[in-house]
Homo-oligomer: 456 residues x 2
């Protein structure tokens, strides 16, 4: 019996295990679920031990534990498998058609919180390991498993864990069970994601809100100043007007642009989904380019003065804004933050003063080299499984783990997830397509064998 035959014979059993896993309400953000988090970590550790002679340990963190396991009997190469066992809160509960923590299958989809993000996808490597041990007594390569319990709350304790265990975690490539395919009807691989850099600032005019009758017109209004400075951040054509902002952006070559242009993208359907009257963004780029490969500067919040019912005729003395930039290779979060700060400092309107602030929340953009053997393996395997060459796509959001692994361990991440972006993770009625579970099991088994061969 081959590992693939072993897995095929156990489809229903593996689905039942996923249901059992998803019954544990491992909501990392909610202190009332602390025991459930511990229970979920134990469940994962138990499945690892059950899979074969894997050396399993739990690594305590400042928050929820990391479950780690390794089997190093193959000499080389070494994979680091990443996934997370925590889930988003199920709220709003009333919008679920079935109990989020009593998963049920309807029309070939398993509905339940966390089934797509990330319990279904992360169960796959556990069962693939079990299949290899059961049929061959060994894995085709060394595998290290790292499952965290804080992905949904910003992986806040992962950086120190990785930094403190750099030697333990050493590997050739990270194979991530997290991430998601772009579409349900054709295979894709995410080859890059944007970084992020945030900044807050305030403008202050007078020492208090002033009566707009008595003083209005003679003292700067902090909200007018805020509007002026925020408007100065973009040119009318949608470009970011901060000097130097685009300096470190690596331009896409003709092939890369053509690859994006060749993707089917339903612009009308997109606008109808988000409900916007028109698309808007940087001139010279289409919607997918704006979302994937161009950097942005966005004001996430802005406020000042009276926000209550009716009117209050004040000349506001304070205005606040929070902003964030999405970054693309090779922009550096700290450098971009400094450029934006410099722009603000040199554009302070008359009559107000500027104060910069905000936490340092930054992540570098990430892109896997286009000839990375781990990426080529993924393409080869997806073509075998789906019968067609997968799309290479980018992701507009930030996947901080890939940047962490690159920065702290020097290794690249291949996103090899079998969830799909339309599966309502973070929303009510999250689901996971059951056939994706089967395809994922086959693909991961093929990947391990194929990567082991290619690297020998």
């Amino acid at each position: 019996m081959t590992p693939l035959e072993y897995l095929s014979a156990r489809h229903d059993q593996i689905l039942d295990e996923l249901i059992e896993f998803a019954r544990i309400p491992s909501v990392s953000t909610d202190p009332r679920h602390r025991d459930d988090m511990a229970r979920a970590a134990e469940w994962v550790a138990a499945r690892l031990r059950e899979a074969g002679p894997i050396d399993v340990r739990t690594i305590a963190t400042g928050g929820h534990p990391v479950v780690y396991g390794e089997w190093l009997g193959a000499g080389a190469p070494t994979l680091l498998v990443y996934g997370h066992y925590d889930v988003q809160p199920p709220d709003p509960l009333e919008r679920w058609s079935s109990d989020p923590f009593a998963p049920e299958v309807r029309d070939g989809r398993l509905y339940g919180r966390g089934v797509s993000d990330n319990k279904g996808p992360m169960l796959i490597p556990l069962k693939v390991a079990q299949a290899f041990f059961a049929t061959r007594g060994a894995l085709p390569l060394n595998v290290k498993f790292l499952f965290e319990g804080e992905e949904e709350i910003g992986s806040r304790n992962l950086e120190p864990v990785i930094a403190a265990n750099a030697r333990l975690l050493r590997a050739d490539v990270v194979l991530s069970a997290d991430g998601a395919m772009w579409r349900s009807d054709e295979p894709s691989i995410t080859v890059g994601c944007r970084g992020v850099s945030v900044l807050e600032f305030a403008l202050t005019g007078a020492n208090r809100n002033l009566h707009s009758g008595r003083y209005g017109g003679s003292i700067a209004n902090a909200l007018h100043a805020m509007a002026e400075i925020v408007a100065s951040l973009h040119a009318p054509d949608g470009r970011v007007a901060v000097a130097g902002f685009y300096d470190d952006v690596v331009p896409l070559n003709a092939d890369e642009r053509r690859a994006i242009a060749d993707l089917r993208f339903d612009e009308a359907g997109f606008l109808s989904d988000v409900g916007a009257p028109a698309a808007f963004g940087e001139a010279g780029y289409n919607t997918l380019e704006r979302q994937w490969v161009r950097p942005t500067l966005e004001v996430n919040g802005m406020w000042g003065g009276y926000q209550g019912e009716g009117s209050q005729t004040v000349t506001p003395n304070e205005a606040h804004a929070k902003l964030s930039c999405r970054l693309v290779p090779d922009q550096d979060p700290d450098r971009v933050r400094a450029l934006v700060a410099r722009h603000l400092e040199t554009h302070v309107p008359v009559g107000v003063t500027l104060a910069l602030g905000g936490e340092r929340h930054a992540a570098r953009p990430y892109r896997i080299p286009s000839d990375h053997p781990g990426l080529l393996t993924a393409e080869r395997v997806l073509e075998q499984v789906y019968g067609k060459k997968p799309l290479r796509v980018r992701m507009g959001s930030t996947l901080p783990v890939s940047e962490l692994f690159k920065r702290l361990l020097g290794i690249d991440t291949v996103f090899f997830s079998f969830s799909t972006t339309d599966e309502a993770f973070h929303s009510p009625n999250e689901f996971f397509r059951v056939h994706r579970l089967h395809e994922g099991l086959e693909a991961w088994a093929r990947y391990w064998e194929s990567y082991a061969r290619s690297e020998q």
Copy 2:
């Protein structure tokens, strides 16, 4: 004995009466003081009856009553005296040096809530009437007294009362005990005030806040659009950029501008008081002109997106703003509102839609004709009392009663108050200069005689 001698002999007694009046906590905004409001209205009615053969009645309103009295034994002319018996709340109590409702004299000043705004000033005409009746058995002219109890809450029921009693209230001029002199060290008369017009609006992009990673850069950010449209409302030189905004502004003539330029104004002291780093306003005008005689457009509140701690990387889909314009003769509040609405409608940025809203809160600007006999009388009398010609000043804020009297009754208002703008009304430790009470009694008595003579 003349009326002036009668009043001089009773300075202490009148101060005691003011103290008695100010002990009543007639806080119009606070329902717990409803009985105190009724008690204050009765106190005023009793003083009117006590003053002489005045026909006194209480006019019920949707809120606190209006106290009305009239003596029409002189044939002509007829004065309408205006004042209010309600006061601001005393909060914050801990910042008072003495009990706000147990008035006490320190260093020639009476401290207590409402003593300056408006109980001290409005007691003056009551005692002047008493002096004329006691010494001459008659007033030198017809007098109608109108004291409201809702000035501190926007005179919300005064308009219907005036409209329903237009015949009863017919007069040649309003002499207002409310208002305040500009400075304590020289006499002044307020000859105009600005009007007001308010408007709210919202901009909406997508149908929900969007993830700034996934969508950022491809859909309009409502806050960027808000900044752009708000910035478009002013030119860099501080002028309002709304087309037609200045069309109906009556330019000041050279004499009026010189009169303002001749006023001593301590610009450095003003900036230090409000704590602003620099003055800012419409190019070509000085600070007093900007506050008194130039119209403004001010954003009073503006908000959207995330305002909490830390960062939330959303592309906000909604932005809100409240704005108000201060108006000068001959701007019309509804026309200005329409011009601003038109500007907003023609400046909506790509990718968002505009919704206009907000209550109709409007008041016309007011200016008394510069040769009005009631104004000339006031100047004559103040020169007699103070030995120097009073300044003619404007007021940047809106005094809606003058506009109400003009619009509903067709008569002008002379502001003849003896409080001063520095007397901390609306703040802790409100006070009234005791010598101003004496000067006010003399001035009002002289005014009645002088105006009666000039109009016969």
